[in-house]
Symmetry: C2
Subunit: 334 residues, 2 copies
């Protein structure tokens, strides 16, 4: 499906998600739970051109299993809240200077508002999931959040390990990205009182999509057009971050090239930035990019394939949207 | 009740709370949800001589309404988790250098582990409350967490306002401390399937106790013995923080004294530290300390009085423990 057709089809859902978010914030304000300073921070953090990828997946997953209604959108926004909460905290941790081309909350408003607004959205997210999705959804989401933190700690622990295996990489991205997106889809299914097979299919769709999404992110970091991504090329390598293209290259290049890469990784950041072009050439020649692209394609194919069980139930349009989103993840350039 | 009699009576409950916490962490580890680095951080953050005040209140409140059992302790630890999560984040926000006489997680392990471990405990807390306490408890706790953040924002917004009314002060401490402690007691009651009257009585007990606790904290900041509190005397004044003794004094001293205090508050931190003795004398002469002590006493009396409805039900021992805790809050010197 073309991007613009997909977008046109999803636009009404995205509008409903934004509307549910605005109404929820109004409700909180009416209960005196949003101090003036907090309102401004939440506005900046929540309405900044986010793609609403996670709530959209929740809405589509629930729709696929046959149930909709106003409460679904209130459940769906919980996942955007939790996502934005982690972005707020990530930006503090990474001392980030931009987020979607704008200064992040942590720069614009400071450390305290960024951490506190994250905590606020975290609590609100759990509240919505627990009260609308019920005990099972709360359990799945908390587990995914715990796994997210475990993934971050694993990444910190692996930061200086330049002999990583692919398994180490996947353990991190499963925790940090994939399980959460799988949980979002599964919660949509649970909201729709789906059976076990449907829940598992949607969990598989989400977690495979999440992994593909992360790999595509890693590829864009090396190969993207800064004018499109809004990010500096090669940032991961300059930071010494081990992503799939680099891990594959280290395990498949010759010993001279391996020594060159390892010397850079164990050296200074400045050196890595200076030699980025050469490093990228080695990774390319060792098929680090081709291989990663292939893995992402396989994951996307698995994600789309898991939707087969829904195809004979008059759900063609939603299946096509979910397949379209999966294809979009692969071809996105920002 | 004497401190040591109270402590001896509560010791078995505190041991059961610690035991439930250890078992819960083991369960998480068995599910691969605690990366090695995270385990160390949680150990440091959770087992550092905390008084287990909140879980203890939950256990006593539930006991007062007639129900106990293993699950109660698992519910109770959720409140310690949430409390420690806020301490972890507070220490990052305040750039704190000590916590209970030791370096805090943010100093010892760094910014990222402190923020992430806080998020982990936050999620775990919501999970336990939602699954054991049910929808109503989750709702109350999330609301209290939202109020906590609102209180912090209000405090940030009021930071440069030296003409505060008592109401401003109470709005902040209600959000930051009192509602959470009220929620803890109410959740204990809900766990015990208490009726509305009992729930409200315990909510009143907890929130009044929380306010008294905070006022006693403010008094200790000015008047405590550093050898006991482990804190520098007069830190709040040096930081220009508006607490009840100072607010009362500003509204009750003569215009020359008021100008003296306001000049200091609007000036440099160093000056405030140099003139701390004089400021404290003015606050004392304007009855800022007496008045605050009286308010704390009244709140404690209200807290204890709210337990009257339980007194004729053979619960003398638990009522005495809760009254003892309230009295302890008033006479504590650290």
């Amino acid at each position: 499906m073309e991007n613009n057709i997909l977008l046109a089809r999803l636009k009404p859902e995205i509008d409903s998600i934004d509307e549910a978010m605005r109404r929820d914030l109004q409700e909180l304000a009416a209960n005196n739970l949003i101090a003036p300073g907090l309102a401004e921070v939440l506005q900046h953090a929540l309405f900044n051109g986010g793609k609403r990828f996670r709530p959209l997946l929740c809405v589509l997953a629930a729709g696929l299993c046959g149930r909709r209604g106003e409460d679904l959108y209130r459940l769906a926004i919980a996942f955007e809240y939790l996502h934005v909460a982690t972005l707020l905290h990530d930006d503090v941790i990474d001392h980030a200077e931009t987020r979607r081309g704008r200064p992040p909350v942590s720069c614009l408003f400071g450390l305290a508002p960024a951490i506190l607004a994250g905590d606020f959205l975290h609590a609100r997210s759990m509240f919505l999931v627990g009260t609308i999705g019920g005990r099972e959804c709360l359990e799945i989401l908390c587990r995914a959040t715990e796994a997210m933190v475990a993934g971050e700690f694993l990444q910190l622990a692996n930061a200086e390990n330049f002999n990583q295996l692919e398994d180490d990489y996947f353990a991190v991205i499963n925790g940090k990205t994939a399980l959460f997106i799988g949980a979002v889809c599964e919660c949509g299914a649970i909201f729709s009182r789906a059976d076990k097979e449907e829940r598992e299919a949607l969990q598989t769709y989400g977690s495979c999509l999440g992994r593909a999404f992360q790999i595509q992110d890693d590829l864009l970091d090396y190969l993207g057009d800064p004018a499109r991504t809004g990010k500096v090329v090669g940032n991961d390598f300059c930071e010494g971050k081990m992503t799939l293209p680099l891990i594959h290259a280290l395990n498949n290049c010759n010993s001279r090239e391996k020594k060159f890469l390892l010397d850079l990784l164990m050296g200074e950041k400045e050196q890595r930035c200076d030699w980025l072009g050469e490093a990228r050439d080695i990774i390319g020649a060792a098929h680090g990019f081709d291989y990663s692209r292939r893995v992402a394609q396989q994951l996307t194919a698995t994600a789309i394939g898991s939707l087969d069980i829904f195809s004979d139930r008059g759900n063609e349009e939603i299946v096509a949207s979910l397949a379209g989103l999966a294809a979009y993840v692969l071809r996105r350039d920002k």
